[in-house]
Amino acid sequence: MSVKSLRQTVHGLLPSLTPVRFVAEDGTPVAKPPTGYAEPPVEALHEAYRRMVLGRRFDTQATALTKQGRLAVYPSSRGQEACQVGAVLALRPDDWLFPTYRDSVALVTRGIDPLEVLTLLRGDWHCGYDPAATRVAPQCTPLATQVLHATGMAESLRRTGGDGVAMALAGDGATSEGDFHEALNFAAVFRAPVVFFVQNNKYAISVPLARQTAAPALAYKGIGYGVRSEQVDGNDLVAVLAVLTAAVGHARAGHGPFLVEAHTYRMDAHTNADDATRYRNDEEVEQWSAADPLSRLETYLRARGVLTDEDVAAVREEAEAAAAELRAGMNADTAADPLELFDHVYAEPTPQLREQRALLAAELAETDEPTTLQTQED
């Protein structure tokens, strides 16, 4: 390869020096729109706005449920709605999504029943929705492990001849895990159609970005694998959707994986159980309030004349109705039968599990309790 074409290859892999942005924090279009990315059509932005409102309402409702003691734990993604909605809207229904515990808003946007989304956090079962039907993997807790699964799924999709794409979601902290590295490398070597979408929300629980990496930006990791990379303002839905659409298109067209880093911010603590005052100050949080993705998009769409007061009111109403439905649903008892514990370990229980199941069944019979126990929460 000539030095010139090498230089081109290198520059083709590196991200933009500054995050791609279409809309400024105040909701006005940036002076110089980014080159190389098309602004999504207005209907898409309109739908994204609606989804963000619904997502935000879901998120605040879930947080409220923890405060009322009706949900054990919830990792809020308030402030990250542009990322989570943008990610889902960039995908087709037949693409696969590999989310983390933080990505409940993405799941709701994908159309999964909010109650099923909360099954894990209510403690009823490990995954409440049907991953095969929704093409959404179970929300993943062991950090970065799902990035490999997404790569494997993408490789399956590539081999089965369609043009499906897989998208892995991961946090800034998760990029430090070995699995993240192995996934990017495998994807690049196999040219698997996978998009790695890093929501850099500046913290991994209490650990700030500067303690996580010394890279100029996480998007600079791509070149080390030969993976095209980009960084984007994660609180600008227009930019997120534009860049992710390009990334998904790149993968779908057979050009291999794509890494996108979104700069965003986790407005709430890590979960309701966390105390963020121990490691960050209010000023920082307030500064990021000004960059709120939802009001930014609202201002932008209103200024473009494509979002009316009625639209806004209608979406809010829809969101309130969904929140009310969620609250109501949380009253229903959904705990599993303890004997189900033995049903899914293997396709058929082993002789050992049959014995153990019988033991538990006998105990349950003895204690005269119904096998479906009342939950303590109710």
Binding site: L121, R122, S206, V207, R278, A336, F342, Q356
Partner: protein, 339 residues
């Protein structure tokens, strides 16, 4: 004497170790300003400085591998894995290096380091946050494996672990973090490292337990006493080294033995205990050594953990079976019923 929680005892142990030996370092995920998700390292960065207690990037193999290098370099790292299942990424470092370096080098290098792991269930944690992973470590030669059941032991065993010339996997039963007890940490009443403790003396059978199962075993012993059965409860404290002497002596005295563990039973530490007790006490035994363990299933979701964890009733049922005849085994009858 003051009321102390296990969490406080652990925090105090780290403080005292940091104070007494400048080679001691504490690091891991969120152990710095946050003080760890369980606050075991609370205030250490503030009081000892960032050089002594600090956050690392989020990578468990990295944390353990860094600790290996730093221990080779003369430090005494005490690292935290945030939860049991999140130590698995470090498994290669632990099994292939931490456990083996002294042996590989004929003792020319050693790794005085501690890997602290909040472990086991009972706190309503979601998947991957409640694994009982002690068997993986106890089966790996070169590691010492410790799990305290009391605040006093938590303090002394952690001090011992930090001072130990060998690597110690220190398993903290997270459901006991907040249980209080009256103890004076300034005065060592605790057994030496490597010795079990008889937490309750009894005539009729020996219950061997460790870590999170000890309080359950003791509660069962109280309940059994009400029914006229007098159980001896042995708390192992260290799984490796194993205190054969105390366990064997107890079982030879009582003639019966029950092992309690939270972990899934198959090939767990309880299996080892049962195997060695019957090897060493066979002719003293009036009944087989029985085990009460977690089921051989992935840890259940929070609302079902009560069905999985060995509780007082399940222990008492097993005590009832300590006199059973070989044929027929009631479990085989049951099994016929469901097959």
């Amino acid at each position: 004497m003051a009321k102390v929680t296990m969490a406080q005892a652990l925090n105090t142990a780290l403080r005292d170790a940091l104070r007494e030996d400048e080679r001691v370092l504490v690091f891991g995920e969120d152990v710095g300003p946050l003080g760890g998700v369980f606050r075991i390292t609370d205030g250490l960065t503030r009081d000892f400085g960032e050089q002594r207690c600090f956050d690392t990037p989020l990578a468990e193999a990295g944390i353990v591998g860094l600790a290996v290098g730093m221990a080779m370099g003369g430090f005494r790292p005490v690292v935290e894995m945030q939860f049991d299942a999140f130590a698995y990424p470090a498994f290669e470092q632990i099994a292939s290096h931490v456990a083996k370096l002294r042996n590989r080098t004929r003792g020319r290098l050693s790794l005085p380091m501690v890997i602290r792991i909040p472990y086991a269930g009972g706190i309503g944690g979601v998947e991957h946050h409640c694994d009982s992973s002690e068997a993986y470590y106890a089966h790996t030669p070169g590691l010492k494996v410790v799990t305290p059941a009391t605040a006093e032991d938590a303090y002394w065993l952690l001090r011992d672990a930090v001072a130990d010339p060998d690597p110690v996997v220190f398993l903290e039963p997270k459901k006991l973090y907040w249980s209080r007890e009256d103890t004076d940490l300034e005065r060592r009443d605790a057994q030496p490292f490597g010795r079990a403790a008889i937490r309750r003396e009894g005539r009729d059978a020996t219950v061997v337990a460790y870590g999170p199962s000890v309080p359950v075993a003791l509660a069962a012993a109280e309940a059994a006493a009400a029914e006229g059965i007098d159980l001896e409860v042995v708390d192992l404290r260290t799984l490796v080294p194993f205190d054969d002497e105390t366990v064997t002596a107890s079982v030879r005295r009582t003639g019966r033995c029950l092992v309690v563990q939270e972990a899934q039973g198959f090939a767990g530490v309880g299996a080892e205990i049962a195997a060695r007790v019957q090897e060493r006490c066979f002719h003293s035994l009036a009944a087989p050594v029985l085990r009460v363990a977690g089921f051989d299933i992935p840890y259940p979701p929070p609302k079902l953990e009560h069905a999985h964890l060995p509780g007082v009733d399940r222990i008492l049922d097993a005590v009832d079976r300590l006199q059973f005849a070989d044929e027929p085994d009631p479990r085989h009858l049951l099994r016929g019923a469901v097959a």
